[in-house]
């Protein structure tokens, strides 16, 4: 009988340790799943931001923005010649400084 008890206690001890380890692993697994899910979310967010970035700064978007804000290509601007060092006419709102 003592032998049975001895073996039973060893068995119970191992079973409890195993259950504890299993529980710990389940917790770890849960955390891993949460991290994986977060990684997927961040990946999606990264993709979304990448697209947004290129939509905002793509050459086409910049050209449209520049045009909407009154920028004119250098080649279509008004040009004038002036001797070197001679100041140009004042633009409206500009003040002369000594």
């Amino acid at each position: 009988m003592r032998t049975v008890l001895r073996w039973a206690s060893i068995y119970l001890l191992l079973l409890v340790s195993l259950t504890g380890l299993g529980y710990f692993n389940q917790q770890l697994n849960g955390k891993l799943q949460a991290h994986l899910s977060r990684e997927t979310d961040l990946g999606n967010k990264e993709t979304r931001l990448l697209l947004q970035r290129y939509q905002l700064v793509s050459p086409l978007a910049l050209r449209n923005w520049a045009e909407a804000n009154g920028f004119v290509p250098m080649s279509l601007a008004r040009w004038e010649t002036r001797p070197l060092g001679e100041p140009g006419p004042l633009t409206p709102g500009e003040r002369s400084t000594p």
Binding site: V4, W7, L18, G22, N29, S58
Partner: protein, 470 residues
């Protein structure tokens, strides 16, 4: 008392106890191991699931590394530049990613294996071409339009623009009725019309059968083999070759071209790959992977009668894509050397001397001198040729459907790029190349000069900074 009728207590043999305990232990351990295995977070215990996934579909990049088509980790296909270059890049099935059009379809084998490719497309030049084209297509109420910008010295395609706009992320409409998805620049063969006159004139100079000041009798119309050839712009009855180009005289160019046999012109056009479907070098020979370009359509020269030959001298009676026209026209920009266009960085571009350098320069100069007003840009020298080609509808040349074209160089004297603009079926009172295609070319030129930082040249005789070449 036990069942045997004795008073001895029941005992279990020690061996049985050990066996039972061992079995219970093994079963418990087995169960525990099973639970552990299936909850194990460690990748060492389980095979990595990612190892079985196919490689991420390859990327397509612009020449500066800007991504044009990329795949996210979950294999979704993304087009960061959105509308820009969308017809050239193409698109694939939303579920599987399999390429359905454009480069996504043509390069399916390479992309599937995870190979990434870098195009010669410059995103800024592409946006310049698209902005000008989309505006022009809307203004002319054209069915569609295409612009090709090719770097003169290298043959690199800097822009392949198509209009109207196509959004690869938007719900798709019927591909039969809505053609905005198609890369017209590569996939639609059209009659190039009068733009070809510049090449015919170059052939005449190269063959020493005419000079720019050679005169020809050019009434407003003439009959050839039962067909009437007419001119559109009023002009004198007697024109020089230079004036033939200025007034875009069909009668003048076809009359002058009679000084050489049809085979000769055909051969020159062949040397400029006008009849060759493989205008772009293949990406791989085994297996053969190349970008699809519509096949040119031309009758064998043995079946060219006088009328067919006359038509060919001013760009009617055969079909080529805007890409073919760009590469051929670039021969004039590149001092007579034909250079094969390339779409991918690292691709080798074949070359062939077709005209003497002086011939190419003379044609450029006369095109510049006679440039249509709508293509002129104050302060800069531009050069090019307009074209308005009739389109065959139901087996006959239509009186209402035209293709408006402009083929030119930027700048006009020492070109850095060759530009071809094509608008299909512009509607309304303005439908000529000089009216609807030339302004698009000018827009592109203005923005390219600004991009390159080239200031306008000012008239030195004027103190008020008057711009040259007004």
């Amino acid at each position: 008392m036990n069942r045997l009728g004795t008073s001895e207590p029941a005992t279990l043999h020690r061996g049985w106890v050990l066996i039972l305990a061992f079995m219970a232990f093994v079963l418990g351990l087995g169960y525990g191991s099973y639970v552990l295995w299936h909850n194990a977070p460690s990748l060492l215990l389980r095979s990595a699931p990612t190892a079985e996934l196919p490689p991420l579909r390859g990327r397509l990049e612009a020449s500066d590394g800007t991504p044009l088509a990329i795949s996210s980790k979950d294999q979704a296909r993304l087009y960061p530049l959105g509308l820009s270059g969308s017809q050239l890049i193409g698109f694939g099935e939303r579920s599987t990613g399999r390429g359905l059009s454009g480069l996504e379809r043509d390069l399916e084998k390479l992309l599937l294996q995870g190979h990434s490719l870098r195009l010669t497309i410059d995103p800024v030049v592409q946006s310049i071409a698209e902005q000008a084209l989309w505006r022009g297509v809307a203004a002319a109420r054209a069915d569609w339009g295409a612009v090709v910008v090719m770097e003169t010295k290298t043959g690199r395609l800097l822009a392949v623009a198509n209009g109207p706009q196509f959004d690869p992320a938007a719900p798709r409409r019927s591909p039969e009725t809505d053609l905005s998805w198609r890369n017209h620049a590569f996939m639609y063969a059209l009659e190039p019309g009068s733009t070809i006159k510049a090449l015919t004139a170059a052939v005449l100079l190269e063959e020493n059968v005419a000079r720019l000041d050679t005169r020809v009798e050019a009434p407003m119309s003439r009959r050839i083999a039962g067909w009437t050839i007419s001119d559109v712009i009023r002009h004198d009855q007697n024109l020089t070759l230079s004036e033939v180009l200025k007034y875009s005289s069909n009668v003048g160019i076809s009359t002058l071209a009679e000084r050489i046999p049809p085979q000769r012109l055909y051969d020159y056009f062949e040397r400029m790959r006008l009849w060759n479907q493989q205008v772009l070098p293949p990406l791989s020979y085994y297996p053969r992977i190349n970008v699809q370009v519509a096949s040119p359509q031309v009758r064998p020269v043995t079946r060219w009668g006088p009328a067919e030959y006359a038509n060919a001298t001013f760009g009617q009676g055969f079909l080529i894509t805007p890409l073919h026209l760009t590469a051929a026209f670039n021969t004039l920009a590149n001092d007579g050397i034909y250079r094969q266009p390339v779409l991918f960085e690292g691709n080798a571009s074949a070359t062939e001397q077709v005209f003497r350098p002086q011939v190419a320069r003379d044609i450029r100069r006369t095109l510049s001198d006679n440039l249509t007003q709508n293509a002129r840009l104050a302060g800069y020298l531009l050069s090019g040729k307009t074209g308005t080609a009739q389109v065959v509808v139901d087996g006959r040349y239509s009186r209402s459907v035209f293709t408006a074209l402009f083929a030119g160089f930027i700048p006009g004297d020492e070109p850095r790029v060759t530009v071809v603009v094509a608008l299909f079926h512009p509607k309304g009172p303005r439908f000529h190349g000089s009216q609807v295609a030339a302004p698009i070319y000018r827009d592109i030129a203005a923005r390219l000069f600004a991009l390159w930082g080239v200031p306008p040249s000012l008239d030195s005789s004027s103190t008020r900074g008057r711009l040259d070449n007004r």
